[in-house]
Amino acid sequence: MKRAAIVGMGLITGPQPGRTVRRLEAEAARLAIKDAGLKRSQINGAIQLRRSGGGGERPVLTDAYPRVLGLPVNFYYTVGRGGCLAGLGVAHALAYLDLGIADYVVLTGGVDDFSRSRLSKAQGARGMVHMPKEGYWGKPFGDLRAPSHHSFFAARHMHEFGTTSEQLGEIAVAQRRWANLNPRAKFYDREMTVEDHQNSPFVVEPYRLFDVCQVSDGAVSVVLTSEDRAKDGPKTPVWVMGVGFGEAMAHLWWEKRNYSELAVEPAKRQAFGQAGIELDDIDTAQLYDCFTGEVLFQLEDYGWAEKGEGGTFVQEKGIGPGGAIAVNTSGGLLSAYHLGDLTGLSEAVLQLRGEAGQRQVDNCRVSLVTGHGGEVLSPGMCSIHSTLLLGTE
């Protein structure tokens, strides 16, 4: 297969009241195309990266950003499963580039969750109730949003391995320290200690408020092209080194494996195999962090820590600035902005281009971006896992 690279990126963060998702996506795509030194007329294909959440489906979006922006594309459609978008979108783009169907493919995903959740809060609800939760699992029992069942991850980990809330707090604090270096981050100006974490109220016990990600407005767009064109652009190409997927429903969900591990193993094997690299080659890890527990699981499932020892790892080795592995260097979904795994994708691109400002990781050559999401049933919590490896070579 031909090699491909990300040659342009647009990133929109911060509250965007009064703007539709499609408008945000059109603007992000405009920025990405401009960043790549291209004209709209050169874009042959567009994909929308659409997040769904909490077992629900985002209401169907009529109309589409390529029409709004004016892209002469031969194809446009939507991919995404829960917060797992980047890996799926890149895999699609690679196929079109390899087949010669497209010279340039733009992938774009936007959200207006912050603005919409403010409206629903004014009407008496909490969280992302604007994304209706359907499906026949827990809704009548008050299993209403992601914390209603994702907290089971942390509860089981605590039960099986003795992990503590303070250890989860270390994850939140480490990411906050990265966010304190990122002027775009929601919590750029607000420091956090483990004591602050411990003093934050329970949302769904064992999760406290600071274990739970925020919701955001914003959008990310990237332009991909094949190797022959990638070197023509103004920006350092960010190469796709490998992509892979795993799925919890590969196992009967009542085997309960999904309460102690994510479907990392096949995804990691596929992506690292394509790239021909090892875990030690990773310079930044952008791990999907809808809750602190997901970060803990991935630190173990990728192999930075033994299973059950993620809590000790974050306390003793560290994942913040100066830690053993730089995790979620933007501040992540917990402390920067929640654009699904596009938060991690955009941060990986910035780090690999050397454009990450104060939080730049020295000599960053390889970044891992993971995606996660999509309940089969609530107990199939976030059953898809994607591994995307990006690099400077």
Binding site: A125, E134, G138, P140, F141, H149, E205, W254, S378
Partner: protein, 140 residues
């Protein structure tokens, strides 16, 4: 649309309808393969036997309604106003004696009385709007 005190009710489709018909009669049914005696929830084609067309060789048969707490949480906030009066409430995964996992509330006790592994039984709660929900209660 202001959010009201009206609680969400089960989403029922063809695959899960027999389960809720059983609940209405206070019978706790699981999806059962009578050939190999494997039990599932919700509907599944038998994963051990050669599946029949549309999985229609599976039967919704009455189960023990007994199990153990596999994991639970305690909701301290209500995402919808309809659950405000229930706070704090417990949502749990019950590992049923037949094997499948079933998610429901544990009622009739304080959250602090619940431990992982504790035996529970399914009980039925009838509501004024005609809906019945299967919930779990600690077996003491």
């Amino acid at each position: 649309m202001p959010y009201t005190k009206k609680k969400p009710r089960p989403s029922i489709d063809y695959d899960i309808a027999p389960f809720w018909e059983g609940v209405n009669e206070h019978r706790f049914l699981l999806c059962h393969c009578r050939e190999c005696d494997e039990w599932y929830w919700p509907m599944a084609f038998c994963q051990k036997c050669e599946p029949g067309p549309f999985g229609e060789n599976m039967h919704w048969d009455e189960a023990s309604g007994r199990g153990n707490v596999f994991v639970f949480n305690v909701h301290h906030i209500a995402f919808l106003p309809a659950f405000e009066d229930d706070l704090p409430y417990v949502f749990a995964m019950i590992e049923l004696e037949e094997g499948p996992m079933f998610g429901t509330n544990i009622i009739g006790c304080e959250p602090g009385e619940i431990e992982i592994g504790a035996p529970v039984e399914i009980v039925f709660e009838d509501y004024e709007d005609g809906v019945t929900l299967p919930k779990a209660r600690l077996v003491r």
